[in-house]
Subunit: 180 residues, 2 copies
């Protein structure tokens, strides 16, 4: 499974592609950042972010896209731009029919480091270790995008196993009625 | 000048097209709302909003687009969806090379009613009067979209006159150097 993780932002939008299946070593496919100049109108910046994500989807053909869920409580100053960029990420992926998932920062931190309150350095260190890199990807937005992709592969795997178990449990009974 | 006003929102995205020039009676070209079901994933809802705005641009061919500027301070519960929808509106317009402007709710209220603290009913009443309608457009999101378009026509006119004055003032001098 190949996943594009997107850490949305107007100034720096982190992009990271990881390939793997749960329980096996993961591999880095690509990592980078789309930057847009702060003195450009927001509409132009969003168009550049859209084009950047489109290019990454064309180049890396992921099976799914994972986007960081943005909360209004944090960073009031930048949150609107972040939310707008996340909207663009969701639309670009959904328009292509790709499965899109949102993961919260705590879910991502917990998935890669075991603690939902891990700091940037810990996340960077774990991404470096899990992908067997020689150094942590820079900037932090790029490392966060990879952590999102890793989280998605691991959670997706767990979800797939749950779905399979549910399907197996339901097999002998009638398929009529509503899905549980 | 024909302007599409967009009052962004995930559940109801107001759209209103107004034609006119400053100082002359305005006319209503079209008004409506794109609705998306709350039980759909956000990515799907944003794709539906994008398609709805594209359709309105195709049908009404506006010269410019005016979008309400969203602030993080208000309605923390819904502001993220609103910001995402506004990002879509900005991208759809900018992708076509249309001029896009953001107007704050206070600017819109002040433009159509004379007070930046006017309530929904006042804005609805003024939109009805200015466009010579028999009743206020419903829901409020539709009326707000029309108010945005009206604001843009009026402010755009003022801006155009300012630009012309600046251009006229600069004409006799050298054009070298930075723009003021």
């Amino acid at each position: 499974m190949r996943v594009l993780g997107i850490d949305p932002g107007l100034t720096r939008c982190g992009l990271g592609v990881v390939e793997g299946t749960p329980g096996r070593p993961l591999s880095l496919v690509g990592v980078g950042v789309v930057r847009t100049p702060a003195d450009q109108p927001v509409a132009q910046r969003l168009v550049a972010i859209e084009a950047g994500i489109e290019e990454w989807l064309d180049r890396h053909r992921p099976d799914a896209v994972a986007v960081e869920r943005v909360f209004a409580q944090h960073n009031l100053r930048t949150v609107m731009g972040t939310a707008q960029a996340s909207g663009i990420a969701l639309v670009v992926a959904a328009r292509r029919g790709l499965p899109v998932a949102l993961h919260t920062p705590s879910e991502v931190k917990a998935a890669v480091s075991g603690s939902g309150r891990a700091d940037k350095a810990q996340v960077g260190a774990m991404v470096t270790r899990l992908l067997r890199l020689t150094e942590a990807p820079k900037p932090a937005d790029a490392a966060d995008a990879l952590a999102l992709a890793i989280t998605h592969i691991w959670r997706g795997g767990a979800q797939a196993r749950l779905d399979a178990a549910v399907a197996a449990a339901r097999r002998p009974t009638t398929t009529a009625g509503r899905r549980p």
